[in-house]
C-alpha cells in the first residue's frame, strides 16, 4: 500500500524559489537569499513590516520583477531561463493587486472576458459563459454590466479575482488584496478567498489580516528587511517566541 503522506511529499512543489536575490538599479537590496516552496493546493501567507520585500518577492513569482540571482521554478519551468515563454507562465499565475487595477474602459463582464478571448483565443460566447459563471461565484451576478467606477472597492476586488480565475491559473498571488478597502468590505473579499482555498486553489497571499492567516493558511511566512525570517504552520507561528516576530506582532496587534 502506498503511504498517502509519502505520496504527497514526493509530488514536486508547484513553486520552488531558491536563494532569490533582488537588487534594484538604485542599489536597494530588496530580497536576500529568499527560498520558499509551495505545494499544490497550499495557502501560504506572507506577513512582515512595510518595506520588507513582500511585494517584491510576490512579483518575482510571475516575473513582473526580474531577479538578480537565484532560481524560481514554476511547475518545473525555470522562470529565469531565457527560453521560457514568460507570457505562457503568466497565464498560469494569476495576480490580484492592492489597487484592483481593473480595466476602467470595460464592464465587469468585459474585464473578465478580455484575457480569455485575446490570450486563450476563446470565442465570445465561450468567454461570456465562463465570465458569467465566475462573476456569479464571487456574488456579482447583478453587477456584470457595471463599469468599475460604478462598483464599490469590495466589488471591484471580487471582479479582479474573477478576472484572474478566468485564465484557469495554477497559482493565485494576492498582494494585500484588502488593504485599500473600507473595513466593512474586507469580509466579502476574504470570504471569496476562503472559498477558493477550500476548493484547493494554490495561493500565496501577502496580507495584514492575521485572522485570515490563522484560519486559512497552511503555512505563514515572516519577512523582514528582505530576508525570510520564519516559516511555520499557523499554530506554531502565532505561538513562536522568535524575537523579531514578537516585535512585529507587538506593533500590529
Amino acid at each position: 500500500m502506498i503511504d498517502p503522506v509519502k505520496e504527497q511529499s514526493s509530488q514536486p512543489a508547484l513553486i520552488q524559489a531558491h536563494k532569490v536575490n533582488k537588487v534594484f538599479p538604485n542599489g536597494c537590496h530588496a530580497l536576500k537569499d529568499v527560498s520558499l516552496d509551495v505545494q499544490p493546493g497550499e495557502v501560504v501567507v506572507i506577513i512582515g513590516p512595510s518595506g520588507s520585500g513582500k511585494s517584491t518577492f510576490l512579483r518575482t513569482l510571475n516575473q513582473l520583477e526580474s531577479i538578480t540571482s537565484g532560481r524560481i521554478l514554476l511547475d518545473q519551468v525555470d522562470l529565469t531561463d531565457k527560453r521560457t515563454n514568460i507570457n505562457k507562465v503568466r497565464e498560469e499565475v494569476g495576480m490580484v493587486f492592492q489597487a484592483f487595477n481593473l480595466f476602467p474602459h470595460k464592464t465587469a463582464l468585459g474585464n473578465v472576458m478580455l484575457a480569455p478571448m485575446k490570450v486563450l483565443k476563446q470565442t465570445k460566447p465561450e468567454a461570456r459563459k465562463t465570465a458569467t459563471d465566475l462573476l456569479n461565484r464571487v456574488g456579482l451576478a447583478d453587477r456584470m454590466g457595471n463599469y468599475p467606477t460604478r462598483l464599490s472597492g469590495g466589488q471591484q476586488q471580487r471582479v479582479a479575482i474573477a478576472r484572474s480565475l478566468a485564465m484557469k491559473p495554477k497559482v493565485l498571488l494576492f498582494d494585500e488584496p484588502t488593504s485599500a478597502l473600507d473595513p466593512e468590505m474586507v469580509g466579502e473579499v476574504l470570504d471569496v478567498m476562503k472559498e477558493l482555498a477550500r476548493e484547493g486553489m494554490t495561493m500565496v497571499v501577502v496580507t495584514h489580516e492575521m485572522g485570515f492567516a490563522r484560519e486559512v493558511a497552511d503555512r505563514v511566512v515572516f519577512m523582514e528587511e528582505g530576508e525570510l525570517v520564519l516559516e511555520e504552520s499557523p499554530e506554531r507561528f502565532f505561538h513562536s517566541d522568535h524575537p523579531r516576530l514578537q516585535r512585529f506582532l507587538g506593533q500590529v496587534l
Binding site: 493587486f97 480595466f103 484575457a115 467606477t149
Partner: protein, 315 residues
C-alpha cells in the same frame, strides 16, 4: 453657485459687448470711406453666370437638324464640335472668327473661394490621417523599451518642433519633392503630416504615460504580451484622454494648412488673395475666408466632442 438671473445678466452683457465690437468694425469701415460690396463676392463662391463658348478657329457655323452646332474651319482642319449648350448665339451659315461667342451654357459652378475651401479641407483631411499614423507610431516608439526607438522618436519630435513649419514646407517642396519628384499637393500633405505628427506623437506619449503602471501589470499578469496589452488595455484608455489635446492639434493643422499657399497650392487663403485683387473687396473677402475657416474648425471640434461623449460611458 451661479443664480439663474446672474446667468441671464451675463448673456445680456455678452450680447451688448458683441454688438459694440461688430458696430466698431462697421464704423471703422465707414471712417476710411470703405464701401461694402458683399454682392461682389458671390461669383467667387458660386458662379451662376452663363458661360460663353468661343470659336477656336475662323470658319462657318453649321447647325444640323438635330440642333448640333459645329464650326467648319476655312482651312480644312477638323471641325469644332459643340455637344452641349443652352442657348445658341451663332446661326447656321454665319461667318465665324476665332474668339467669337458661338453658344452659352447656363447653370452654376464653384468659384475660386469654394474651390480653395475644398482644397483646404482635402489637404487637411489627408494630412490629418497621416499625422495620426505618424503620431501613434512615434508616440509608441517614445515609450518603447528599446533605447534605439526612443532616441529615433525623440530626434524626430525635437527636430520638427524646433523648426518653423514654413521652413519645413520649403525643404519638403524644394529638396524632398525634387529628390522624389513629388507634386505640390503631395509635398504640402507631406510637410503638414510630418509637422503635425510630431505634436501628435507627444500627445500620444503623454496619454500612454498617464495610464497607471498597474494597468500594464494587470494585463501582463493575465498573460497578454506587450502588443496585446498596448492594443486592448493601454491605448483605448490613452486615446480617450488624448482626444481634447488632439482636437486642438487638428484645429491647428487646418489653420497651418494656409501656409502651403507659399508653394502655390490654391487653398482657401491663396484663393482669397487672388480674389481680392480681382474683386476690389478685400474686407469682405478676408472676413468670408475667416468665417469659412471657422466653420471647418468648428465642425471638426463638434465631431470630436461627439466622439468624446460616446467614449465617456465608462466614467
Amino acid at each position: 453657485m451661479q443664480t439663474q438671473s446672474s446667468r441671464w445678466l451675463g448673456h445680456g452683457l455678452y450680447l451688448v459687448i458683441m454688438a459694440i465690437l461688430v458696430s466698431g468694425v462697421y464704423f471703422a469701415g465707414q471712417k476710411i470711406n470703405y464701401s461694402w460690396h458683399w454682392e461682389r463676392l458671390w461669383p467667387y463662391i458660386i458662379n451662376t453666370e452663363s458661360q460663353d463658348i468661343v470659336a477656336i478657329t475662323d470658319g462657318t457655323a453649321v447647325v444640323d437638324k438635330a440642333g448640333r452646332l459645329s464650326v467648319l474651319p476655312d482651312y480644312g482642319d477638323d471641325p469644332q464640335l459643340v455637344k452641349v449648350y443652352d442657348t445658341l448665339v451663332a446661326r447656321d451659315g454665319d461667318l465665324i472668327f476665332q474668339g467669337d461667342t458661338i453658344a452659352r451654357i447656363e447653370g452654376w459652378r464653384f468659384g475660386p473661394i469654394a474651390e480653395g475651401l475644398w482644397v483646404t479641407i482635402k489637404i487637411s483631411f489627408i494630412s490629418l490621417i497621416f499625422a495620426v499614423l505618424l503620431g501613434v507610431m512615434f508616440g509608441l516608439m517614445r515609450v518603447a523599451h528599446g533605447q534605439v526607438w526612443r532616441n529615433l522618436a525623440m530626434t524626430y519630435v525635437e527636430v520638427i518642433r524646433g523648426t518653423p513649419l514654413l521652413v519645413q514646407i520649403f525643404i519638403v517642396y524644394f529638396f524632398v519633392g525634387t529628390v522624389f519628384d513629388l507634386d505640390r499637393f503631395t509635398s504640402g500633405v507631406a510637410a503638414l503630416s510630418i509637422f503635425t505628427g510630431a505634436y501628435v506623437a507627444e500627445i500620444v506619449r503623454a496619454g500612454i504615460q498617464s495610464v497607471s503602471a498597474g494597468q500594464m501589470e494587470a494585463a501582463r499578469s493575465l498573460g497578454m504580451n506587450y502588443v496585446q496589452a498596448m492594443a486592448y488595455v493601454i491605448m483605448p484608455q490613452a486615446i480617450k484622454r488624448t482626444l481634447p489635446p488632439l482636437a486642438g492639434q487638428f484645429i491647428n493643422l487646418i489653420k497651418d494648412s494656409s501656409l502651403v499657399s507659399v508653394i502655390s497650392i490654391t487653398d482657401l487663403t491663396k484663393a482669397g488673395r487672388e480674389v481680392v485683387s480681382g474683386s476690389f473687396a478685400p474686407f469682405e473677402v478676408w472676413f468670408t475666408v475667416a468665417v469659412l475657416y471657422l466653420v471647418v474648425t468648428g465642425g471638426l471640434s463638434l465631431l470630436i466632442q461627439c466622439l468624446e461623449k460616446r467614449l465617456s460611458v465608462s466614467d
